[in-house]
């Protein structure tokens, strides 16, 4: 055999580089009209939505940051993020990753692809990278579009944080981008689960609904009174934990844990999908997914990962129970009240006052003396007291709290009317939204419950 022949033969039997496969997968994904429609929607719809809502007189006050949409362009992207974390991001991962393997089964193109690429491993890599690219493009589109829409419609004003502290436009920009970036981690976890479903279920389009189904189950789970170590071990927790970035100091602990959990799931699901894909016999024309074996090969390892994660979180944090108690609510409500009182003072054109001068404190009780003052519920009642500016007297105001199991709560002002009892405050220029009427904030579930 001649040297030339050897050279030709060696070159011809080499697998196609991953970058060529990646390009091929991108072409196939971008040729699908649902993907094109999703990209168009993600890059256009948020801008239109934020601009339209921000200009309305009635704002979505029951939505996180919704009440601030007319005052700063940075609130709109956070409203969109909160909505996206509920449904949009899991559905987008379903659309992209949930079908990327199963589609080849339905089209009968596996053999054709294998002959051209000559490496199942590279096919897997190319598909993962291509779906990742499209998902990042979709998430980036949502974020950038919402930001552009908010800034164009309302402007680059300071943002009121969840505990009432003010973020300068620069701080708001950085924190909003960080919040969107942190939502990528659970999105990747859902995408990896979609990949796994797509590999495991063969030509069945059921892989498409698996991330959406998982999102639904996890949302239901987040509503249940789970122990905090289980709650933060769920891969959807990072979809909630970004809210902690908008308190002062930022509640980074739950966010870091949420991101780590999401990335661990993304890695585990990807490895399982890879192993399942590599063990497949592509010459078997009757192959139709792993069927019941998927339970053993995919679901059980992921359940084991959840158990291990719960164990690790329980051992490295001092959190216990629901993570919600009286001390945390006392501290959180007093802080938010002080920040928002300063804002109300400014609106009423009264002399400026600092949080230190106010010396605000809160005393919360839950459901009377027969109920332990821990855990979520809508039966929390708090009395906030503060030092009245320019006086030796102490003011007090009452709030009724509806505390969610995930730490987010809404405190409804219950009087006195001139402080927190009415949704407007009367100024020289007319009525303006009363920042103390409703306080929408969150507690850090992972801080020790006994402190305070």
């Amino acid at each position: 055999m001649s040297a030339a022949a050897v050279t030709v033969r060696t070159a011809g039997t080499q697998p196609a580089p991953v970058r060529r496969g990646y390009h091929f997968e991108l072409i196939k994904l971008l040729a699908q009209w649902p993907i094109r429609l999703a990209l168009l929607g993600c890059w256009l719809a948020p801008a239109l939505f934020v601009a339209a809502i921000s200009k309305q007189s009635s704002l979505p006050a029951d939505t996180l940051f919704g009440r601030w949409m007319s005052q700063t362009g940075w609130a709109g992207p956070l409203v969109v993020l909160a909505f996206a974390c509920s449904w949009v991001l899991p559905l987008l991962t379903s659309l992209v990753a949930g079908d990327i393997f199963a589609r080849e089964d339905r089209l009968g193109t596996w053999r054709h692809l294998l002959i051209a690429v000559r490496s199942p491993r590279r096919i897997f890599m190319a598909k993962v990278l291509a779906s990742l690219t499209i998902i990042v493009l979709l998430v980036a589109g949502l974020a950038i579009s919402a930001i552009v829409g908010g800034l164009a419609a309302v402007g680059n004003q300071p943002l009121v944080g969840l505990d009432g502290h003010l973020l300068t436009p620069g701080q708001a920009a950085g924190t909003v981008l960080l919040a969107w970036a942190s939502a990528l981690a659970p999105t990747l976890a859902f995408a990896a689960v979609g990949l796994l479903g797509s590999v495991a279920l063969g030509r069945s389009p059921m892989g498409l609904v698996i991330p959406a189904l998982l999102a639904l189950l996890l949302q239901i789970a987040q509503l249940l009174p789970l122990p905090v170590v289980v709650r933060v071990a769920l891969p959807s927790y990072a979809f909630i934990a970004w809210r902690g970035l908008f308190t002062d100091p930022a509640q980074t602990g739950p966010l870091v844990v949420g991101i780590a959990v999401s990335l661990a799931l993304a890695l585990a699901a990807s490895i399982l999908a890879y192993r399942m894909f590599m063990s497949r016999d592509f010459t078997d024309v009757a192959y139709d997914g792993t069927g019941r074996r998927a339970l053993v090969r995919a679901v059980l390892p992921l359940a084991a990962l959840l158990a291990v994660t719960v164990g690790i979180i329980a051992s490295v944090t001092s959190a216990s129970g629901s993570g919600i108690d009286r001390a945390k609510l006392d501290r959180s409500l007093a802080t938010a009240f002080a920040h928002l009182y300063r804002m109300q003072t400014g609106e009423l054109h009264r002399p400026a006052v600092t949080e230190a001068e106010l010396r605000s404190s809160a005393t919360c009780e839950k459901g009377g003396s027969l109920v332990a003052a821990v855990g979520p519920g809508n039966d929390w009642r708090c009395v906030v007291t503060w030092q009245l500016p320019g006086s030796a007297a102490v003011g007090s105001a009452i709030y009724q709290l509806d505390v969610n199991p995930d730490g987010h709560y809404v405190a409804d002002g219950d009087g006195p009317q001139e402080v927190n009892g009415f949704f407007l405050v009367h100024t020289a220029t007319g009525g303006t939204p009363n920042p103390l009427w409703q306080i929408d904030t969150t507690v850090d579930l992972l801080t020790p419950t006994s402190s305070g």
């Binding site: 001649s2 033969r9 070159a11 009968g108 053999r111």
Partner: protein
């Protein structure tokens, strides 16, 4: 220069020699005239024996047909030639190189099994361009490959709207793009209209003329009879016949023929007098319009004798044709025998 004709599905069929440049032959050592040499190939899927000691030799420039009933192992064998899997036993050499693992066949092998792998959301041109780029080839030959299979007019249409025949032709174009020396085709004539079939036959014949070896499976005996110089008959994973088409047809001693003459009554009388010829009850096989036709069963020499007698008696012979094509008859006879033997073994 190209000649264009119109297929019934609306696509134009052009004949050009643009992509028929045969690839440079490689030196293959002692088997330099063989594109494929398979010896005792065995392949299992769990407990199922898909191939059981299959031998196959395919020479350069040969069009080799694979025939067999469903489940005979044709697609499995073609998959091995494309490198989709490795044999569980036996030796397989392609262009003289042993194939010992999956996806490691030497360059120059192209084709498809279980239908051409095409993406319906891409156009015909995009399908080929993406494939060419994946292989690291340029897009130079795409137009020629599309013209070669008669899909130039629909090159920018999405494959979603293509008929089965058009998809088959596009699959062939994808294989031609790789400038193969061994073309492996699974049912390439599936869904083709007569013009498309004729055109694909011409393409394959021209490729073979340029030294490209072609191995194809088909259930259409007319395709195989028209194209293949050699055929291999598979049944339950075993080779039950391998050789030339002529030999296969000759292996079937007697066939049923339809005889139409100017004088049916005289023809029936003469046929009855002809030795070693059997007149069959034709009602079951001949429709009413053929009420005057005669159905006879005989070997070729006896037929010659019958024709001589008819002509001698002044009876005009208007038609003498096999009811079932010789190749098909041979196929049916051999596969029935093989299946029977296999069942006996099972018992």
């Amino acid at each position: 220069m190209s000649i264009t004709e119109r297929a019934t599905d609306g696509t134009s069929i052009a004949h050009s020699d643009a992509v028929r440049t045969p690839p440079a032959p490689l030196e293959n050592g002692p088997h330099d005239t063989l594109a494929v040499r398979a010896c005792g190939i065995r392949k299992f899927f769990g407990d199922v024996v898909a191939l059981d000691g299959v031998d196959l030799d395919i020479a350069a420039g040969e069009i080799h047909g694979l025939v067999g009933p469903n489940g005979a192992g044709k697609t499995t064998l073609l998959g091995l030639l494309l490198g989709l899997a490795q044999p569980d036993g036996g030796d397989l050499e392609i262009f003289g190189s042993p194939v010992r693992r999956a996806l490691a066949v030497p360059p120059g092998v192209a084709g498809f099994v279980d239908g051409p792998g095409l993406y319906p959301s891409l156009t015909a041109r995009q399908n080929l361009a993406a494939l060419a780029r994946l292989r690291g080839d340029g897009a130079d030959g795409i137009g020629d490959a599309l013209e070669e299979v008669g899909l130039s007019d629909v090159a920018d249409d999405r494959v979603r709207g293509f008929s089965l025949g058009m998809r088959q032709r596009l699959g062939l174009a994808a294989a031609l793009l790789a400038k193969p020396r061994l073309l492996v085709l699974d049912e390439p004539a599936n869904g083709l209209d007569p013009a498309g079939t004729r055109h694909v036959h011409r393409v394959l014949t021209d490729l073979a003329g340029c030294g490209v070896s072609i191995v194809m499976s088909s259930h259409r005996m007319d395709d195989l009879a028209a194209l293949c110089s050699e055929v291999t008959l598979l049944a339950t994973g075993r080779v039950i016949f391998s050789g030339s088409v002529t030999k296969l047809a000759a292996d079937t001693a007697e066939l049923d023929y339809r005889l139409r003459t100017s004088d049916p009554a005289a023809a029936r009388r003469i046929a009855a007098e002809t030795p070693e010829l059997c007149i069959l009850p034709g009602e079951r096989l001949l429709d009413r319009r053929d009420a005057e036709a005669l159905l006879v069963r005989a070997a070729a020499p006896t037929l010659d004798d019958l024709v001589a007698r008819l002509v001698g008696a002044g009876v005009g012979v208007r038609e003498l044709a096999p009811v079932v094509a010789p190749l098909e008859a041979a196929f049916l006879a051999l596969t029935a025998a093989a299946t029977g033997a296999s069942e006996d073994e099972g018992l």
